[in-house]
């Protein structure tokens, strides 16, 4: 179910679009939602469905942000890696560029928040964080809209 939604999001009109393509994000998300719904009518429990929806939300966000963003790549990687991959191929380079130190409490916290933030320099981290914040805000607004219109009718 999840793989299918990811494939769909990838095969769509995805170009390295900025997160201004809100319609694209919404498209993807609604598609993913429908997929989630189709998969066995919600997989029994709302919490399970909620997790699936959350994953779909992040996947859509990352997919629409474009592959040029480090955080979107890391996010997609993290999402796809989850489904029970027991044996992990030893990757050649996991932590590419380990940033020096980590003494700044705030910086460490930011690194943990932003996906893929462990490998970046501080400068890049800020940049990715900004983009991530923008995408997140858009995603939240989109979901809010959906919920509102769904609850309206």
């Amino acid at each position: 179910m999840y793989r299918r939604s990811f494939k769909d999001t990838r095969s769509s009109l995805g170009s390295p679009n900025p997160n201004f393509s809100k319609p694209m994000v919404a498209l993807r998300f609604l598609r993913a939602l429908s997929l989630v719904r189709r998969s066995g009518l919600g997989a029994c429990s709302p919490s399970y469905r909620a997790r699936g929806i959350r994953r779909a939300a992040y996947a859509c966000m990352a997919a629409s942000a474009g592959p040029r963003r480090a955080w979107s790549r890391a996010l997609l990687r993290k999402i796809r890696r989850r489904p029970g991959r027991g044996l992990r191929r030893p990757r050649a380079v996991i932590w590419r560029h380990r940033p020096v130190g980590g003494g700044d409490r705030l910086e460490v916290a930011l690194r943990r928040l932003v996906p893929g933030g462990g490998c970046m320099e501080y400068c890049r981290l800020l940049e990715e964080a900004a983009d991530y914040v923008k995408c997140l805000a858009m995603q939240v607004r989109l979901m809010q809209t959906i919920v509102d219109s769904a609850s309206h009718v």
């Binding site: 992040y58 130190g101 928040l113 940049e127």
Partner: protein, 474 residues
């Protein structure tokens, strides 16, 4: 955009969302531009033609669009920065440098003419894209050639006040010294290890000097000859201007001459105040000049560039996060950002739970739509104007565009084959047109789709879908 197309009554919030989001998505950028531009213009008082490039420069979202235009952005910033620097120096020479490919011209954007001069390889494009993201015109090293060897943070503020023309960011560097120092140390150690690059240019800074070594080295090695050639020209250009100070006054950091220059810079000091000749190099090497009264150590210069970059990013973040414009100080700002990100993530979780609870009600509409859309996967391309206005919706959407939007959205969202048809069509007909057509129509689509989902059992739907499918325009 087309907010006027929005429906109002029952989907007021949705409309609000769509209304807001284009504006709000723009809001981080546009205020960003004026604020940064304002800050910049405060210092760079010279030219009036800088205003437009600055506004364009500081819209970071644009750079994602077209990779081809990203070098333009980089060049734009370089243009901006170099012109700013040029303004501080009453020199007409930099204009002559433009044939070399450096956008030092009065025109804000003359990228197409100067692009061919650049060795635009993929690595450069990528770096330029990243570089152009953050108004990197500031990074053009508006650093002055310092006279005092001491590199104390206190000097920065003093210099900052002094150097109004070219000082772009009045940021307290102390709080960042800790974090930047370690990064700096990392980079500088790397730099000292025989790497040809001494300075941190914004492109490489974005990737990290450590990280982009391969790409950068490849490009740098390939462009070394070109670099040399190019470097000589600016030097020659500047010679009459600066007289004998040419060699010492610049801390142009390019591939091979870097180390030699560093020694020169360290040994000499200029009495030039308030002048910098920062030029943007073709591959994104930043010519950094030490500010007056500041250390001319290559390390300190690089650190300063880095600090300014970081402060630039922080400012951008400040624009993004609501309610952070009044906050001063990096720590508080970071704290706010972290809180905001955490709250957003919590909101996503909460909304997903809500959606999961709400979803079963929307099942019927989706299934019906899916079935119908999958039957006719390929919508014929016809104009939206030919749309039959007899869409029967309780909300009575007035504009035909809405119907098209719904059709588009419904079909596009529920059919893989249709998507591929769209993509193939779009690629065939040029991607420019389709998004332009699709996107403005997509704006109110959210509500329609949801109402469709809600009114899935509407008997009028099938014929609506038929008409929509026939009149679907791509």
């Amino acid at each position: 955009m087309n907010e006027n197309k929005f429906v109002l009554n029952s989907h007021h919030d949705g409309g609000e969302w769509q209304f807001n989001t284009p504006a709000m998505s723009m809001v981080p950028l546009l205020p960003n531009a004026p604020s940064l531009a304002g800050g910049l213009m405060n210092q760079i008082t010279r030219s009036s033609y800088l205003s437009t490039p600055m506004v364009e420069v500081f819209s970071p979202g644009q750079w994602n669009h077209h990779p081809t235009s990203s070098p333009n952005m980089a060049l734009g910033e370089s243009n901006f920065a170099s012109t700013s620097s040029i303004n501080s120096i009453p020199v007409g020479k930099p204009v002559a440098i433009s044939p070399r490919g450096m956008l030092v011209s009065t025109e804000p954007r003359i990228f197409p003419t100067s692009l061919p001069h650049f060795p635009v390889d993929s690595a450069f494009v990528e770096r330029a894209a990243r570089f152009s993201c953050f108004g990197s015109g500031n990074f053009s090293g508006i650093n002055f050639f310092g006279s005092s060897p001491a590199m104390a943070p206190s000097n920065n503020e003093g210099i900052g006040d002094q150097v109004q023309k070219d000082e772009l960011l009045q940021v307290d560097h102390e709080s960042f010294n800790g974090s930047t120092m370690k990064n700096q140390g990392d980079q500088n150690s790397q730099i000292g290890n025989g790497e040809s690059r001494v300075v941190i240019f914004p492109e490489d800074g974005l990737e990290g000097n450590t990280g982009s070594t391969d790409a950068a080295l490849n490009s740098s090695s390939s462009d070394r000859g070109v670099n040399k050639r190019r470097k000589t020209v600016p030097d020659i250009e500047r010679d009459p201007v600066q007289g004998g100070r040419q060699s010492s006054s610049e801390t142009t950091k390019e591939n091979i001459e870097n180390k030699q220059k560093v020694e020169q810079i360290n040994s000499k000091q200029t009495e030039k105040n308030g002048k910098d000749n920062s030029e943007f190099v073709k591959e994104g090497y930043v010519h950094v000049r030490a500010r007056r009264g500041q250390a001319t150590n290559s390390h300190s210069l690089a650190e300063r560039v880095r600090r300014e970059k970081i402060s630039e990013r922080m400012k951008y973040l400040q624009e993004l996060v609501p309610g952070c414009s009044k906050v001063t100080g990096k720590a508080v700002m970071l704290d706010e950002i972290i809180n905001y990100v955490q709250s957003l993530q919590r909101q996503v979780e909460f909304l997903s739970m809500k959606l999961a609870a709400v979803n079963p009600q929307l099942d019927f509409g989706i299934e019906g739509l899916l079935a119908k859309n999958l039957l006719r996967a390929h919508g014929s391309s016809s104009s939206a104007t030919g749309f039959s206005p007899e869409m029967i919706y309780p909300q009575a959407y007035p504009s035909q565009h809405n119907l098209v939007h719904t059709g588009i959205s419904a079909m596009a969202s529920h059919s893989d084959t249709f998507r591929r048809a769209i993509s193939t069509q779009s690629t065939a007909s040029g991607y420019k047109e389709s998004p332009l057509q699709v996107q403005p129509m997509h704006i109110p689509w959210n509500e329609e789709l949801i109402t469709q989902m809600a009114y899935g059992a509407n008997p009028s739907n099938p014929q609506n879908m038929d008409s929509k499918a026939d009149d679907f325009a791509i």
